[in-house]
């Protein structure tokens, strides 16, 4: 019996604590940013920061299926769009409560993810990428033709969402910190999912689907569940984006956005959760910064991305691991 308890102690997995540590560092930096920006008399950065947080949530959600489930969704911007339109549609009907808008965004996202995921997951590899792209484009063109909400031109929001009747989000600071709280909460949600029974099945399917079937798992339903969870979390990111921009248009759902999300995940480190958060920060800050130097910033960003992928396949996480700042398995 003593032998059993001794051997049953779980393996030491430094990757787990490393993930949380890296995320905590990021969250502290996020929390410190607004006061610093105010001190520097650059409060504009708080609004940019909110945008970064929204994309960080979306990139992290994509990593949940891309990194842990090997499902490369090229249509994830659709869920960003559902989130933004959930705000626009409910707001039109006088419902401005953030919580209700989030629930609505998750609802639309879940239905869309269920239907398109059930079809897409019958394919693999490049075909999965193409079919998710196709579904994403269908959502994009649906909202383009939705003239009640401005169609192609989009629609401006009269006000930001309210929290329990309070206009907590009216100031940029308020919106920023509520968004940050959502990011932190969702990170720990994803972190728990990845380390759970469900997460182990999801990762197992990524590693070797045939083996998973040979021990009695049907991969499809677990992949589909993860796909839906990922879509719902991305929908939350859309709700934040709508509040940040106070404007909603189909541009949020274009396939470029889907591509950018993949770039953020790859840039930060696939299958690390904290990495894609850093990836979103890096990608959007580079965009801002390079934009100051040249109109052709996308070219320089492209060069940067190529170098990153060539020299550090695990992205920013890989660089930190090499420097010994983050411990990891590989």
């Amino acid at each position: 019996m003593t032998e059993l308890t001794a051997t049953a102690t779980p393996a030491n997995r430094p990757a787990l604590s490393g993930r949380v540590k890296a995320a905590l560092v990021l969250f502290v930096l996020f929390a410190l940013m607004p006061p610093v920006a105010s001190a520097l008399d650059d409060p504009f950065y708080v609004l940019i920061g909110t945008r970064i947080i929204a994309y960080a949530i979306a990139a992290m959600a994509l990593d949940l299926i891309l990194g842990y489930g090997a499902m490369v969704s090229f249509g994830h911007a659709a869920y960003l769009g559902f989130g933004t339109y959930a705000v626009a549609i409910l707001s039109r009907h006088g419902i401005n409560d953030l919580f209700l808008q989030i629930v609505f965004a998750m609802g639309i996202s879940a239905v869309f993810a269920f239907v398109t995921g059930a079809i897409s997951l019958r394919t693999r590899g490049v075909y999965f990428i193409m079919i998710t792209l196709a579904f994403g484009q269908m959502a994009f063109f649906f909202f383009i033709s939705l003239s009640a909400y401005g169609g192609d031109d989009g629609v401006a929001l009269a006000q930001r969402s309210t929290v329990l009747g309070m206009d907590l989000l009216e100031t940029n600071f308020g919106l920023y910190y509520v968004s940050l709280a959502l990011l932190i909460g969702l990170f720990f949600l994803c972190h728990r999912i990845v380390g759970s029974r469900f997460g182990r099945v999801l990762t197992g399917v990524r590693e070797n689907p045939t083996r998973m079937e040979a021990i009695g798992f049907s991969p499809f339903r677990y992949q589909l569940t993860a796909f839906i969870i990922s879509g719902c979390i991305t929908g939350v990111a859309g709700v934040i984006l709508a509040n940040q921009a106070q404007f909603v248009s189909p541009a949020f759902m274009s396939w470029h956005k889907s591509g950018e999300l993949i770039v953020m995940v790859v840039l930060g480190g696939v299958g690390t959760l904290a990495g894609p958060i850093a990836g979103a920060v890096a990608a959007l800050m580079l965009e801002e910064w390079l934009g100051h130097f040249s109109d052709n910033w996308k070219l320089y960003f492209g060069i940067f991305l190529v170098l990153m992928v060539l020299f550090s396949p695990h992205g920013i996480t890989g660089v930190l691991r090499k420097m010994g700042l983050v411990r990891g398995q590989e």
Partner: protein
């Protein structure tokens, strides 16, 4: 104890008939070996039995269940498990995690999203038991991709054991394992004898004759003989088709 009954199983790849009207009856608790020259269709047969490959016709019965139309995961959940000839594990998982996942597959729900699975001592405890039975408990916390070939073969066995099979299909568990390692492995298998029904495909004749209660000989997709090891050894047709060349090689 559960029996495995196969009747009139067929499989063709194009014009090539790989499984040709195979009928086989494995008694509850029996250790049944299937031998045959390379290309006889042994692995194809195992794949059909396990549900990985769909049969063109014929039936597979697990005890009283007709499992012919069930998928591989469904058959596993009814107690029909297999191991792979070419190691097929989860490379980024530790040996313990590989086995614990097999325990999880039949124990409770996998729709649990919050509790840390690595802290679940019942899962880990049972996984350790399976690892010990396969002789791999000392390497429990090593990543599967870092294990040696012999250890991979043991991990294959441990995973199959952890599914708590009623009928276990072993596809060349000794492939590429030699010398003392092989002897120890055969000893591990011998200890399992009688605990569940086993079907073994193996090239190692020492293993087959040491372990099997009965032996079937598969040649070009057909079973040409079934009997006790001694009968098979002395069957002239079998010697001509298969054993003759083996013993000729050994001499």
């Amino acid at each position: 104890m559960t029996s495995l009954t196969v009747t009139g199983l067929n499989k063709s790849f194009g014009a090539l008939k790989v499984t040709d009207d195979v009928s086989l009856s494995v008694e509850p608790g029996e250790f049944h070996a299937i031998i045959g020259p390379n290309g006889a269709g042994k692995t194809t047969l195992i794949s059909q039995l396990s549900g990985q490959l769909r049969s063109d016709s014929g039936a597979v019965r697990l005890g009283d269940h007709d499992v012919s139309r069930l998928s591989m995961p469904e058959r596993v959940r009814l107690g029909l498990a297999r191991s792979f000839q070419i190691t097929s594990v989860l490379p980024g998982f530790t040996a313990l995690e590989n086995v614990a996942l097999a325990v999880q597959a039949r124990d409770g729900s996998s729709y649990r999203f919050f509790g840390r699975v690595s802290d679940e001592s019942p899962l880990n405890g049972e996984a350790m038991t399976a690892l010990r039975e396969a002789g791999l408990d000392r390497r429990a916390h090593v990543l599967a991709k870092s294990l040696s070939h012999g250890e991979h073969r043991r991990l294959e066995l441990a995973i199959a054991l952890a599914t708590r099979p009623k009928v276990l299909l072993l596809d060349e568990p000794l492939a590429g394992v030699g010398g003392e390692d092989a002897e120890a492995f055969i000893e591990n298998l011998r200890k399992l004898k009688g605990r569940f029904t086993m079907v073994l495909i193996e090239h190692d004749m020492d293993a087959v004759f040491a372990l099997a209660d009965r032996v079937s000989v598969l040649v070009y997709g057909r079973i040409i003989a079934t009997g006790a090891p001694e009968e098979i050894r002395n069957d002239p047709e079998v010697r001509a088709a298969y054993l003759g060349e083996e013993e000729g090689e050994a001499a």
